[in-house]
Symmetry: C2
Subunit: 356 residues, 2 copies
């Protein structure tokens, strides 16, 4: 683990030894589908837990560039995936906006304060400067790029405005996010204002991640699934499109709207390279809806990794065949579950990599 | 409120004064769409809360036929809906099988014991006799039928085997039900055995509800949405089909698979009269997938009831127009939220009823 000295220097552009992910995202020819896993950094590896045990808590790890970088690179070393994704959390954005969060073990995120009125909005930071308020993520990205030394691309990310809005309004996890949805109907002016602030902060944050070295960025809309077509079109699409337009000239952009099978026809219009699919979405139907102009990412049911290696191989091959060999990035349909056997994850990764 | 005397006598068949729901379910001609709301009994009415306050807890209310019957009829009196649904809970089935539950205020259901092994299965009741183990529900149905005196049909219900399986394995609510899904892959023999037990108990329970007077039964698959097409086809469809085949000769059956937009093509094959749609599903697309042989129920976004009466009217009319005038039962796309203004619910109900 290298100490984070001189991290404010731009990393020298080291050519990538494995650029499969970027070629797949751009729609260029690929020998096989690249493969990585959502939540691959953290959660499953004993090596991650060893680092985690040295720290006070999850947030200490997120906020320590050397440790965040170390656990970011672990899956590249141990699982042999074709991309690294920076170890961080989507909730760093609300925190940078002035709304700190806690992560309560086995419960989830908790915000001591929430945003539900115009008055609350005024208490938020007017402008997030990522180099100041999120410097620890950018330092972790710079350090990771240096330590990866071009082995694989590094993915940056943030939450989609809707998902971040949900947490800032509700203050904790929810099954159906009734309160944030209520805000869209009952206080649309407030909702638009908060969503705009989140969008602006997120664009600046992703652009800074790219300047720090991220080769591709993914926008996670974890709670897209609770919105109807109409609401998503009115409140979310213009903001996602703004984000895509701001980032796409810099790097390939991936949008993953979990539970958003019903939203695919409108998501197809976004100015992004890749759309992520959850495991409920049939890749063949998605391809028909989306056309040939985008790469699809996903979508093995994460619970399949609980089955036997033989079943994992069979189901992974089925998935690959459903996606076809063009414009596909292999992944799970959601984050890998914490109690999955890392050997089973390796079987998934190797099955994709051997299927050239 | 009439006391539950002589409840074991079969209620005399009183002709229904309003049988719109049944005609809509059977595909017969209707003057307009019938309308009711999932969770209409309980939750929203001050009159419900007054009854609730007399009882020790939610379960005391569920288990007291006179009170359960009273709150079942309240929405017919107060909201003017075209159907009553018996006030109860889907978790009465696990309890009848030998797995008691608690409802923790603002947290949800908790099972002190769970079922995760073949050994655990042996501790469950071998055969559920609804007239013995669920007599309080049947008494509530008999009393409600008598007190409704044919004003509107009475809906009986139970949870789908998958949803009940989720609670019995996990022991509490979950976002992604990773553990029950793990069981399907890791312990399929156990999973099949538990699902079979739930299915048998549920069939007997629904049949007893019909004998007690239920005019239509609905099967709630609240957690269908976390299953892929493949798993649903393998583990759930044969059991849902068994349930439909056992009940359909008696009364119309409705199946509501929440989050199951991706499952509609297979659900279309079930031997039931009606499929429920959540608010994420486009009624026109659903009609194309399902064909003309089934009634569709739903699907206003429950959060729309937080908006203004004018918006509720506009959105309700849009919904009606998307469904068309044949084979539709108007409802929300999920249960009504507890903090909705009952006056707004009336606007929804009246808009449907005036749109003849």
């Amino acid at each position: 683990m290298e100490a984070p000295t001189h991290l404010n220097n731009q990393p020298k552009a080291v050519p990538l030894q494995n650029d499969l992910l970027l070629r797949a995202a751009r729609g260029e020819s690929i020998e096989r589908s690249p493969v990585w896993l959502m939540r691959q950094a953290g959660r499953i590896l004993p090596e991650y837990r060893a680092v985690r045990a040295q720290m006070g808590g999850f947030k200490d790890l997120v906020e320590s560039p050397p440790h965040a970088s170390e656990v970011t690179i672990q899956p590249v070393d141990i699982l042999g995936v074709d991309a690294a994704i920076i170890f961080s959390d989507i909730l760093v954005i609300p925190e940078a906006m002035g709304l700190p969060y806690e992560l309560v073990e086995k419960v989830g995120p908790r915000f001591p304060e929430v945003v539900r009125t115009h008055q609350d909005l005024k208490r938020l930071r007017a402008e997030v400067n990522p180099e100041v308020h999120l410097s620890y993520v950018l330092d972790a990205i710079r350090l990771t790029k240096r330590n990866l030394a071009g082995r694989v691309p590094l993915i940056g990310f943030c939450g989609a405005p809707w998902t971040i809005f949900c947490y800032m309004v509700e203050g904790k996890g929810s099954k159906d996010w009734a309160l944030p949805r209520r805000m869209l109907w009952e206080q649309p002016t407030f909702a638009h204002a908060l969503l705009d602030s989140i969008t602006e902060a997120s664009i600046g944050y992703l652009q800074a991640q790219v300047r720090a070295g991220a080769d591709l960025v993914q926008i996670f809309d974890s709670w897209a699934g609770v919105l109807s077509d109409d609401l998503y079109r009115e409140f979310m699409m213009p903001r996602l499109q703004r984000m895509c337009e701001a980032l796409s000239p810099m790097v390939p952009v991936t949008v993953f709207a979990k539970g958003g099978g019903h939203l695919l026809p409108q998501l197809a219009d976004l100015d992004c390279r890749t759309l992520g699919l959850d495991w409920q979405t049939d890749p063949r139907k998605a391809r028909l809806l989306i056309g040939e102009e985008k790469t699809l990412q996903g979508n093995l049911d994460p619970s399949i990794l609980y089955s036997s290696p033989d079943t994992i191989r069979k189901k992974t091959r089925e998935m690959l065949s459903n996606f076809g060999t063009r414009r596909h990035i292999a992944n799970l349909g959601h984050g890998v579950y914490p109690d999955v056997n890392p050997e089973h994850v390796k079987v998934f990764v190797e099955t994709v990599q051997k299927s050239a």
